[in-house]
């Protein structure tokens, strides 16, 4: 009677293991664009080297200890022919089994402390690029003091150059995390923390806020564009230009007026004119509450990198920002669909 039960169990076990292997295999073949296990930045590589060491040790210990447990469960299961041995302990074994893990941990501690010290060093040299990051609910402001550029949510940096980020908090605690480049660092109001990004591999790297910061914590993404020095310089030169608004016509020209002065009486039904909160250099718009929009048209995403920057999403955004990004400061302005069309045309002209 018990035979078929055992066989069914074995079949279930085999089937389960195969399913698990299949799942892990498909899991591994998936692409993880925000992975911490594919480092390209120097700090991320340091972290990953330590991870590989510790993970390897943990896997070995896992199999040893769980193996001992499973062995004991099978070997010492109740059988009519055996009496349980009545021993209370074994001091020698106890001491050995205390010292071995302590030694393993000491072995992990040495490279850990060395790496902590190494990655805490501030990069020196004339080529260090300084960027001030100000974290807001729920977006990132990037300020390049030497280049006089202010942008939002999309950080551009050249390859082969250490980038020294200074993190400043505007409201609550956030945490800047671009796993391919480095581990996270909290942005704490009242403190200035630092991060170092440096890599030789051009590419676009994804990240997001990692410290719970309120309603749209999930919608506070960040994108880092690592470019060759030539491409980076081109980007810098373009960003340093004021907005090209002299040649605007049609919808875009009307949109600029709306942006600067609002509908009638200098505001919209649901809030002030765009310029009350946003800056566009080269115009009278000098607001500092929201992101600087001077080159908004050149950004790939909007609303904390949550939506692709296209006409449809921008239209929806202007129609009802809190619907797109809960908790956002920007109110529903009560714009007409014509006004939205004109503002979209203007914003898209800001390349």
């Amino acid at each position: 009677m018990s035979r078929p039960t055992v066989d069914r169990r074995k079949v279930a076990l085999l089937g389960g293991s195969l399913l698990l292997i299949a799942l892990i295999a498909t899991g591994c073949s998936q692409k993880y664009p925000q992975s911490a296990l594919s480092p390209v930045g120097k700090v991320a590589e340091e972290a990953n080297n330590l991870w590989n060491l510790v993970f390897g040790i943990a896997v070995v210990i896992f199999f040893l200890v769980e193996g001992a447990l499973v062995y004991a469960l099978i070997k010492f299961r109740q059988r009519p022919d055996r009496q349980p041995a009545q021993f209370h302990g074994n001091t020698k074994l106890e001491v050995i089994l205390t010292i071995i893990p302590a030694l393993i941990l000491a072995g992990i501690a040495v490279p850990t402390v060395q790496t902590i010290a190494r990655i805490a060093k501030r990069p020196t040299g004339s080529n260090v690029l300084n960027v001030t990051v100000t974290a807001h609910q729920f977006w990132w402001q990037f300020n390049y003091p030497q280049q006089h550029i202010t942008t939002a949510n999309e950080l551009h940096m050249p390859t082969g150059t250490p980038v020294y980020l200074s993190l400043v908090g505007a409201d609550v605690i956030h945490s800047l995390w671009v796993p391919a480049l480095s581990g996270t660092q909290d942005v704490v109001p009242g403190h200035i923390n630092h991060l170092m990004y440096e890599t030789d591999k051009p590419g676009v790297y994804l990240g997001q806020c990692k410290e719970f910061c309120g309603l749209s914590h999930a919608n506070m993404h960040v994108r880092v564009f690592v470019q060759t020095p030539a491409n980076y310089q081109r980007w810098v030169a373009a960003q340093q230009q004021p907005a090209q608004t002299a040649s605007l016509s049609g919808d875009a020209a009307v949109g600029e007026k709306l942006f600067l002065h609002g509908a009638s009486g200098g505001s919209f039904p649901g809030g002030p004119a765009c310029s009350g909160c946003h800056a566009v250099s080269g115009t009278s718009a000098q607001g500092v509450v929201g992101p600087n929009l001077t080159h908004f048209g050149s950004r790939t995403r909007l609303a904390g990198e949550t939506y692709v920057n296209n006409t449809g999403n921008l239209t929806n955004w202007l129609n009802d920002p809190p619907l797109m990004k809960p908790g956002v400061d920007m109110p529903k302005l009560g714009l007409t669909s014509t006004q939205i069309k004109e503002l979209v045309a203007y914003l898209q002209s800001l390349k």
Binding site: S35, A47, N48, V54, P84, I108, F212, L215
Partner: protein, 626 residues
């Protein structure tokens, strides 16, 4: 004089006399009844917190999902954490302590029975107070960790409920801790030396000390948060000279010992169950006890590993990396000793044993992932990701919850006289083990592949979709296992398969009493001669060291093992039931509502209720005259 006072009180409030019915439970000061009420209440909150978890998993089952709004999600994950920590695992453990500690040390009750009732009712009122926030403008939504300045600025009353609700629960914990410390130190039966105490009692003692010292720290932080929210204080506001990191330090100096407060009672349970079902004494009793004490001390020196990303600097980060690594040593000692306990034994795989083995197997995983957090540079990748969520669920669910369920199955026949069904119990175990691993195993991968915690939604295309869906399926498997448990309780109540006083052939004193034990626990206070005294009354060691049963049952041996005999024949005096602990406890949440809604008269009413309870309590003799 005294009689006059008693007379006055009697006019106002007659002493409760009910022995049965729910009113007898409300006014009970019997540690066993209070223990059962703790556990039943914790299980009720477990269903609520679990339901919140199911909603969280539904929302995350696919990208850009809309089951919960951002606002609802933040309330749900905050309340899930608060519920499971403060309203499930902690009171579940305290309930076990309540039921078992006096029985295990050969006492008739705890040192302060009415204080014990007060702790329980304060826990109930604190939990209801927290949950009433859902109906009063929104539940806490700033995370169980309540980081300032966010927690000071969130607009709903939720975080004020958090700051006051946790203070109320903290008072309950401190009162309970003091009670258990005094009970364990002072109320042990003759011969029950410290090193003869069951490991569960030892772990209860360590837990009580941790509570006693940890809860005041969080009370300070919560008090500051309450003042920030209600009266505009600036403790955490850098623009006015405050510092957000102050909250983090205070919170985690409480928060890390809190982790051990949650796990040590479960470790104690496992240390009782494994020897019984291995038919062997615990391997390395002294080492297990000392490891527990070591964890109790070292637990105070690791808090900043929750703050590696906060910018404390390389020196502090290195120091806390080292302390965090080395707290793994005593934890490892315990695991070796549990395996050593099974080694050479004769293992019976009944349901309590399965849950304890599950505890050990899962805790190994949680412990190993814990060590990886100590490696600061790689922790800065993992912190605040699902890798952390995986880690602490392996410790607190795979660990604490499995251990507590082991205890439920193990002591159920003692508490109720009948056993839970083995078949359904095993089904419960396997479903829960599988569901647990399917839910929380993939979270390791998700965290390493970049998924942060506490996000209500995630975009398509980051490779997280499949694992999230699998986790949601796992969560519902866990829910199914809990349904099996409830069916088991219902059916076993009906079947009533009577267990006798010692169904598992166990080792400790509680099994020498009838099932369920009488109100006074022991007719005569036992005289303890050995560690695992009950086992030594049943067995002697044969010529080749094998256990030989010396008599059939406990009853006829009791006579020789009696320290205090009832020679005068007028029965055993037990503390009498009382209303006042409930009254006193009820005052605090009233004051809390008054502060939140600035209804100062309500604060006055609450204070009046509290004082009425306190005076009634003080003027009422612990034991009513007959």
């Amino acid at each position: 004089m005294a009689t006059v006072v008693v007379e006055q009180r009697r006019r106002m409030f007659n002493r409760p006399t009910a022995k049965t019915g729910w009113w007898s439970w409300v006014t009970s000061v019997d540690h066993k009844r209070i223990g059962l009420m703790y556990i039943a209440t914790a299980l009720a909150f477990f269903l609520i917190g679990g339901t919140e978890a199911l909603f969280i998993r539904l929302q995350l089952a696919k990208p850009n999902n809309t089951v919960l709004s951002a606002n609802a999600y933040n309330q749900f994950f905050t309340m899930h954490g608060l519920t499971m920590i403060f309203l499930v695992v902690m009171p579940f453990g305290v309930g076990m302590m309540n039921y078992l500690v006096p029985l295990m040390i050969g006492a008739r009750d705890v040192a302060f029975p009415r204080l014990n009732a007060f702790s329980y009712w304060l826990f109930v009122f604190g939990g209801l107070f927290l949950y009433s926030s859902f109906a009063l403008g929104g539940a806490p939504d700033g995370g169980w960790f309540g980081y300032a300045p966010l927690s000071t600025t969130l607009p709903s009353h939720g975080m004020t409920f958090y700051s006051i609700g946790l203070q109320i629960l903290g008072v309950a914990s401190i009162a309970g801790a003091a009670n258990f410390i005094v009970t364990i130190i002072n109320m042990r039966a003759p011969g029950m030396t410290l090193m003869r105490m069951p490991v569960f009692v030892w772990m209860s003692l360590v837990t009580s000390f941790l509570l006693l010292f940890a809860m005041p720290v969080i009370a300070v932080a919560l008090f500051e948060l309450m003042f920030s929210r209600v009266f505009g204080a600036v403790f955490f506001n850098p623009l006015k000279g405050g510092d957000p990191l102050l909250w983090q330090h205070l919170f985690w100096i409480f928060g890390h010992p809190e982790v051990y407060i949650m796990i040590l009672p479960a470790m104690g349970i496992v240390s009782e169950v494994l020897p019984t079902f291995s038919r062997k004494p615990l391997f390395g009793y002294a080492a297990v006890v000392y490891a527990g004490i070591a964890i109790g001390f070292m637990g105070w020196g690791v808090w900043a590993h929750h703050m590696f990303a906060a910018g404390l600097g390389p020196v502090a980060n290195s120091a806390f990396a080292l302390s965090t690594m080395f707290i793994a040593v005593p934890t490892g000692v315990k695991i070796f000793n549990w395996i050593g306990t099974m080694w050479g034994g004769s293992l019976r795989f009944q349901t309590p044993m399965l849950f304890s083995i599950g505890f050990v197997a899962m805790f190994i995983i949680g412990g190993l992932s814990g060590v990886t957090h100590a490696v600061v540079p790689s922790d800065m990748q993992q912190t605040d990701t699902y890798y952390i969520v995986a880690h602490f669920h392996y410790v607190l669910f795979g660990g604490a919850i499995f251990g507590l369920f082991s205890g439920v199955y193990y002591w159920w026949p003692k508490a109720f006289g009948y056993t839970l069904s083995e078949g359904l119990g095993k089904l419960h175990f396997w479903l829960m083990l599988i569901g647990f691993n399917v839910t929380f195993g993939p979270m390791h991968i998700l965290g390493l592949e970049g998924m942060p915690r506490r996000i209500y939604t995630y975009p398509n295309g980051l490779g997280w979709n499949m694992w999230n869906l699998i986790e949601t399926i796992g969560a519902f498997t866990i829910a199914a296992s809990i349904v099996v448990f409830m069916v088991n309780v219902r059916r076993s109540r009906k079947v009533r398969e009577m267990a006798g006083s010692d169904p598992w052939d166990a080792r400790t004193l509680e099994w020498s009493t009838p099932s369920p034990p009488p109100e006074y626990n022991f007719e005569q206070i036992p005289l303890v001669e050995n560690r695992d005294d009950w086992w030594h009354r049943k067995y002697i060691l044969g010529p080749s060291g094998e256990p030989v049963r010396v008599f059939a049952g406990g009853a006829d041996m009791v006579d020789e093992n009696v320290a205090v005999r009832d020679e005068h024949g007028h029965g055993i005096h037990m503390p009498s039931p009382s209303y006042f602990p409930v009254v006193l406890a009820f005052g605090l949440p009233l004051m809390g509502y008054g502060v939140i809604f600035k209804l100062w008269w309500l604060v006055g009413v609450g204070l009046l209720v509290l004082l009425t309870g306190a005076y009634g309590w003080v003027l009422e003799p612990a034991t009513a005259e007959e």
